[in-house]
């Protein structure tokens, strides 16, 4: 085989493998076996099986549920996915962007009492970038953000 024909064969082979791998991944990604986080509904549907294991859950911080005690450094709040809520309890201050209505990813474990003990709270920003509206009180800024799906 001439070097030219051989190279063309390599091109076709590499493209087929690359496209095949991409297509396979796009299908395999639909599998829910391995996910970065669960929603509160998914966590609660596992029942006792999920208790004690370190998992991440993602949801919105429920309005009016945040109880931050600076003296004890304890943070209690509820995350919701619209249908189910989970109460989160943890130590330490959350990231600056933490506020009511914003998305959070919480890593921790479900206790036997049904309260989720957080090891770490991450704040999830959505894909909107906007300047604040004039005269808007800082606490209301999050209201301009549309809640996103998981």
């Amino acid at each position: 085989m001439s070097p030219h024909a051989q190279r063309r064969l390599f091109a076709i082979g590499a493209l087929v493998i690359a496209a095949g791998a991409f297509a396979w991944l796009s299908q395999a990604s639909m599998s829910q076996d391995l996910v970065y986080y669960w929603s509160p509904t998914e966590l609660l549907s596992k029942g006792d099986a999920a208790k004690g294991a370190t998992v991440r859950i993602m949801g919105l911080v429920e309005k009016g549920s945040v109880d931050w005690k600076p003296n004890e450094q304890t943070l209690v709040f509820r995350v919701t996915d619209g249908s189910k809520q989970v109460t989160i309890e943890g130590k330490g201050a959350p990231p600056q962007m933490f506020r009511e209505g914003i998305g959070v990813v919480v890593e921790g474990e479900m206790g036997p009492d049904g309260i989720f003990r957080s090891h770490e709270v991450l704040v999830k920003h959505n894909n909107e970038y906007k300047p604040p509206v004039a005269g808007m009180p800082p606490a209301d800024m999050s209201k301009t953000l549309v809640t996103e799906g998981s």
Partner: protein, 263 residues
């Protein structure tokens, strides 16, 4: 707090000043060596000049003119570096793939050298992407790094293209080196597609791609200016790197020097 005036109210923008200074420097360098325009400057320097001027003005706009972001405040301004690096990482690696296919189909050396150049520039951009991403993540998400699908796939992409360069460095025969670099580059492009799709396929802490519908108008314009700055500078870097690779290839091909004559 020092408040700087908006770009439009300045008589000369910092970018225009940078461009003028750069041209002046080139002219002075040539005069000082006793020759004005010894040879015509390479075409790619025009891209470098425009890119640099756009970058200076774009960053000024991002740091001064752009409104602060409602949720992230002043921290949000890092997106004027982070988002263009992400776009250009993707664009440059896409061209790596195109040049790799072009080399395998035509066998022309120029495409092989362009595969090498775009891979290196793409790696530089992806390092910038990762670095600004970590600096962006700490004050917003709360961590520099997490084992998240977007972050992991971006790292895999970067390592894949670094692997292409290792493969290239390991092969001595010029023809085999060129062929296998291109094959490796095409395979590595899969990881670029996966990185792009990662926020759609999997659940991630990283948000989905923004679009002009989800970003306020003045921010979109400033992002575009910076994207073009990155584009022009990438063309400049790729062309410069290609010239080095071309000179190296010519040197490798040249017949060996005759043995030294001892008198």
């Amino acid at each position: 707090m020092i408040s700087l005036p908006h770009l439009a109210s300045l008589p000369v923008t910092p970018g225009q000043l940078t461009g003028l200074l750069a041209i002046l420097t080139i002219v002075l360098m040539n005069i000082s060596r006793g020759r004005v325009w010894y040879h015509l400057p390479s075409w790619e320097h025009a891209f470098g000049l425009v890119g640099l001027s756009l970058l200076v003005d774009g960053q000024y706009l991002g740091l001064v003119d752009a409104p602060r972001e409602a949720m992230m405040g002043e921290t949000g301004r890092i997106m004027y570096v982070h988002v263009p690096s992400a776009w250009l990482t993707m664009v440059v690696f896409l061209f790596t793939c195109i040049f790799a296919v072009a080399f395998l189909l035509t066998g022309k050396r120029v495409f092989d050298l362009l595969v090498e150049s775009t891979t290196e520039v793409g790696i530089v951009l992806s390092i910038l992407l990762q670095a600004t991403g970590m600096l962006f993540a700490k004050p917003t998400w709360g961590v520099y790094w997490d084992w998240d699908p977007r972050l992991v796939s971006t790292t895999v992409m970067m390592l894949s293209f670094m692997g292409v360069l290792s493969l290239r460095a390991a092969l001595d025969d010029a023809d085999r080196r060129a062929t296998w670099t291109s094959v490796g580059a095409i395979l590595a492009t899969t990881s670029m597609g996966v990185t792009y799709m990662s926020v759609r396929w999997w659940r991630s802490i990283h948000q989905m791609q923004s679009s002009p519908d989800t970003v306020a108008k003045p921010m979109v314009l400033i992002l575009r200016i910076n994207a073009f700055a990155f584009l022009f500078l990438s063309v400049w870097l790729i062309a410069r790197r290609w010239r080095i690779a071309d000179a190296q290839a010519r040197m490798d091909e040249a017949p060996p020097l005759p043995p030294e004559v001892t008198v």
